[in-house]
Amino acid sequence: MTTYNESQLDALRELANIASGTAATSLSQMLGREIGLSVPRALALPFADAVDAVGEPSETVTAVALPVDGDISGAVLLLIDEAGAAALCGLLGVEPDSEIGDSALCEIGNILGAGYLSAIGAITGHELLPCPPHSATDMLGAVVASMLAQAAGADDTALLLDSELDVAGEPCAISFLLIAEADAISHLLAPLGLASGGA
């Protein structure tokens, strides 16, 4: 298994920080609320550990998935807990747990994901295009494992960039994940001059 040194993981965290900052700004404009942003985590993990690193596999979440097309193989995944999904729908004035509610959450995923990817693209010079979003409300393990299989399945290591957003005044926490195959790490790091060799 390839491993990565601290300066490489730092660079990935900084990349995630800038990209999720861009996404948080567009979410803030859309909702008219302040958005809090945690320090992102950058994890290069064996497959088996990846789901546990994200959360409790049996927890019910609403997930919006945007596969990434372009220079890296991966996907952006938004995970919103049940209370958060209801709060977001409330802010947007739509019924939660309805077709229009799901569609609104998909649109949030679309806007956040597209902003996130274009920020990463601007820094690294890669072309990263989001595919149309799809949502599912189910067990966290089921949605994360399915995206891992699709985005990073051929590799023994998965890259997870994890940012947490929260909406001021609402019980709403959004996990924002970039899932990619380990190869993507060197693609992302090369333009920053940090690609060579694991430590």
Binding site: V51, A63, H134, A142, V144, A145, S146, M147, L148, A149
Partner: protein, 162 residues
């Protein structure tokens, strides 16, 4: 004792009452191989259909390597080949995007079991919902969707219950 079988792993249990589980299966397949009489059962968490070749250190990850590896593991723990029963759980399409990995996984596991001559006793595969798979040695093999009751797919341990 309860053991969680994570992505790409395979585990065997040989103590009555012990449980193997995969919590939150999406497109992956939980493949259970159980001795219908002796207290031996195995569970593999299969992620993809075909191994890239060159030998993976995670045989449980791919359908084509998981079936022979799980078979060897349960036989090694004392199961008899002619008493083995297979159950497939999972293989859903969680997002209507990209390839239908779940369907391909189900097909590949089924094909590998057929070529190994292992009968499939029950399946709960496909659809768009996630599942939790549980195997209790000498007990039941069950599948459960979020918010629903457990669905009993196979009852084990005839000799034990008699």
């Amino acid at each position: 004792m309860l053991a969680n079988v994570r992505m790409g792993e395979l585990k065997v249990a040989d103590t009555l009452g012990d449980e193997l589980a995969v919590v939150g299966l999406g497109s992956c397949i939980a493949l259970a191989l159980c001795d219908s009489e002796a207290p031996v059962a195995g569970l593999a968490h299969v992620v993809l259909s075909t191994s890239p070749g060159g030998g993976s250190d995670q045989p449980g990850k791919y359908a084509d390597t998981a079936v022979p590896a799980l078979l060897a593991a349960v036989l090694g723990a004392g199961a008899r080949r002619r008493r083995l029963r297979a159950v497939l759980i999972g293989g859903a399409r969680m997002f209507a995007t990209g390839l239908d990995i779940g369907a391909r996984n189900a097909e590949a596991v089924t094909a590998a079991l057929t070529s190994a001559g292992i009968p499939i006793s029950a399946t709960d595969v496909g659809g768009i919902r996630g599942r939790t798979a549980r195997v209790q040695v000498g007990g039941e093999v069950t599948s459960q969707m979020a918010g629903l009751e457990r669905n009993v797919l196979l009852v084990l341990g005839r000799a034990v219950l008699a």
